[in-house]
């Protein structure tokens, strides 16, 4: 195990995969100097054919990813902030997510789209969105939401080696957080959730950036005699329903935590699965802790008001768990 920062782990994965397969190429706006740090050093190592700054033209970049993939490349497209996915949304929703079916399976699209999501740093409404649920709904896209450096590296490698378009959602706010990363070569499979913390009384499903406050909330609850299990889905498409259902079958209670806006969110989808396949095992209402249906405000106190926190999570958990549990 080595201690790496989230961004370093992503950078390591890019270096390793580009070394491993000459067909891996990276492009996007300002990927050369890399203000996020995730693509830093790739230009010096691999040269301008394999990593290149593009003009600002998201609508074209997402379409180019499709064409370059068709021409035999494994494309890594960096879209910077997830709000800019909207600018390039046409080719994402109308081409990338549909072309394989439309062509009767002829077209294979090994595309990885990286983009940072989430708020918490006063970046305001146009630089703080969490678009997971939009991508989930489009049908033909995988969605990876690594919460730790180890998963960031392992899931990115899986995405780059994969045969389908994958959105690799970077937790913008956590580029600097460190964690243990396995030495040597490894990948993290899609569709396998991680039981990050075992517990008996309730299940907290925490997506991406929400894992940290969820674990903190679990600690808080511990002190009140409540044993919370914390699950990190790691990928939303494919989604490891079994692990979530198994946990809730044990605890009978669930809180789903998601930095997306509440309406038609990833959280609502997981809650809906519990209300269907998990119904027989539920002992209490399924709670969602999400961003209310608002754009992210700028002022720190206003942002804090709507940002899902340890307190919100603990409160939701307590509302469905008898403290004597």
């Amino acid at each position: 195990m080595a201690r790496r920062r989230y961004t370093q782990a992503i950078n390591d994965a890019l270096f390793e995969e580009m070394e491993r397969d000459p067909k891996v190429i990276v492009f996007g706006e300002d990927v050369e100097l890399a203000i996020f740090g995730d693509t830093r050093g790739l230009l010096e190592r691999f040269g301008p054919d394999r990593i290149r700054n593009t003009p600002i033209c998201e609508a074209t970049l997402t379409g180019m990813a499709v064409g370059a993939a068709a021409a035999g490349y494994r494309v890594v497209l960096h879209m910077m902030f997830s709000n800019f996915l909207y600018t390039g949304f046409d080719a994402i929703a109308n081409q990338m997510a549909k072309l394989r079916l439309m062509t009767g399976g002829q077209l294979e699209l090994p595309i990885t789209i990286m983009s940072g999501y989430g708020g918490g740093r006063s970046n305001a409404a146009q630089h703080s969105d969490t678009p997971h649920s939009l991508l989930m709904n489009l049908g033909g896209l995988n969605v990876a939401v690594p919460a730790t450096p180890a998963d960031a590296k392992g899931l990115l490698k899986t995405a780059i080696r994969g045969r389908n378009p994958t959105f690799f959602m970077e937790a913008s706010g956590q580029g600097g957080t460190s964690g243990e990363v396995p030495e040597g070569e490894y990948t993290t499979p899609f569709g396998k959730a991680a039981v990050v913390r075992e517990g008996r009384d309730l299940t907290i499903v925490a997506i991406g950036t929400m894992l940290r406050p969820a674990l903190a909330a679990a600690k808080q609850l511990e002190e009140q005699g409540i044993s919370a299990e914390v699950i990190d889905p790691r990928t939303l498409v494919p989604l490891d329903e079994d692990t979530i259902l198994r946990s809730v079958a044990k605890t009978g209670r669930a809180v789903v935590v998601d930095e997306g806006r509440d309406r038609a969110s990833a959280a609502s989808h997981i809650a809906a699965i519990l209300a269907d396949k998990g119904f027989a095992t539920l002992k209490a209402p399924v709670k969602r802790v999400t961003v209310p249906n608002v754009a992210m405000p700028y002022a720190p106190n206003a942002e804090a008001r709507v940002f899902p926190s340890e307190e919100h999570i603990a409160k939701a958990a307590l509302s469905i768990t008898p403290v004597a549990a």
């Binding site: 379409g63 068709a70 009767g104 399976g105 077209l107």
Partner: protein, 334 residues
């Protein structure tokens, strides 16, 4: 820009092949028009009748390994690039033997083995895809080229300018082919398109050509020049081909427009008089490349090919609904 390549006209064999390809496109679509009127097609079809010289003149200059992206009006490009008539007909009929297994239909016919990246239901949708393909080919250095077909209406989509910018900067082996047929749906180009489309390309300093899109030889030559430049590594070129859509924007449009009209019969007739196939046939006879009998023979062969496509489709099973779940992802259930 650099000096033009001296492009030879088509050889007699090529000239006849161009004629046969145009006629194949025409006859296939006449059949589809009849099927549509008879109400036997599952979905809508946007016919290419009148524009065949563009698809044939461009595509028959291409190698199988070159790429094309197409539009919602894509039958001509598909057949022009060597797509299988049987597989196309079956696709439009929604059969399992269709080129896309019946999952795509008229607006999405594609054949990657022939470099056909597909018709596209999104106006302008093919542009960026062709830039990506050209980028890939530039990187692999195999000398392959990408060609992007799009309409006058699509030239108003901003991605057109974005693609001109990227492909010029990166000197990509790409040919933009704008088919100016005077309409976007039921709107005249003048109402929605400011200035001349070719000037938008000129702004990037790339080589451009404006040709009579109903003159297959002119299209063929302009394409030959553009491809030579692209293969020489000079970057993208732009060709604007003026032509006209004889059929409606889509079959059945009269019923949908409930009497609303956007052009008059006189205008249509004036373009029918410039029919690219009849013109080319006449030229072949004049120049002694073909006899009327020879053209008759071609016409018979084409009729046979269409008949084959029809009976192939008729004999084919309907699409397999369960395939939907296998085809969304590679090696993964949706």
């Amino acid at each position: 820009m650099s000096q033009p390549t001296e492009v030879a006209g088509p050889t007699p064999a090529q000239a006849l092949a161009l004629y046969e390809r145009m006629l194949l496109i025409r006859r296939m679509e006449e059949k589809l028009s009849a099927d549509s009127a008879a109400g036997v097609l599952p979905g809508a079809v946007h016919l290419y009748i009148g524009q065949e010289a563009v698809a044939a003149g461009v595509c028959m200059q291409l190698k199988e390994t070159d790429w094309i992206t197409s539009t919602h009006r894509g039958h001509g490009h598909f057949l022009g690039k060597g797509g299988d008539p049987n597989a196309m007909m079956a696709e439009i009929w929604g059969k399992k033997t269709g080129i896309c297994k019946g999952m795509g239909g008229s607006m999405h016919v594609a054949d990657l083995t022939k470099g056909i990246l597909g018709a596209n239901g999104i106006v302008g949708g093919g542009l960026a895809i062709s830039v990506g393909a050209a980028f890939g080919e530039k990187l692999s250095g195999a000398g392959h080229v990408a060609v992007c077909f799009f309409g006058d209406g699509a030239s108003n989509q901003g991605v057109f300018m974005e693609c001109l910018n990227v492909s010029t900067l990166w000197k990509l082996p790409l040919v933009f082919v704008c088919e100016h047929n005077h309409f976007s749906e039921f709107t005249r180009a003048e109402q929605v398109t400011a200035g001349n489309i070719v000037d938008r390309a000129k702004a990037f300093g790339i080589h451009t050509a404006v040709v009579d899109g109903n003159d297959v030889e002119a299209v063929w030559k302009a394409t030959g020049d553009a491809l030579a430049r692209a293969r020489r590594g000079e970057g993208p070129c732009f060709i604007e081909a003026e032509t006209y859509r004889i059929q409606g924007h889509m079959e059945f449009e009269k019923e949908l427009l409930a009497g609303g009209a956007y052009r008059n019969q006189q205008e249509i007739d004036s373009w029918v008089a410039r029919d690219p196939i009849a013109r080319w046939g006449g030229k072949l006879i004049e120049s002694g490349v073909a006899t009327p009998a020879k053209l008759e023979e071609i016409s018979t062969r084409v009729a046979g090919a269409v008949a084959d496509a029809v009976s192939f489709s008729e004999r084919s099973e309907p699409a397999d609904p369960e395939l939907v779940f296998d085809l969304m992802f590679a090696g993964q259930r949706p």
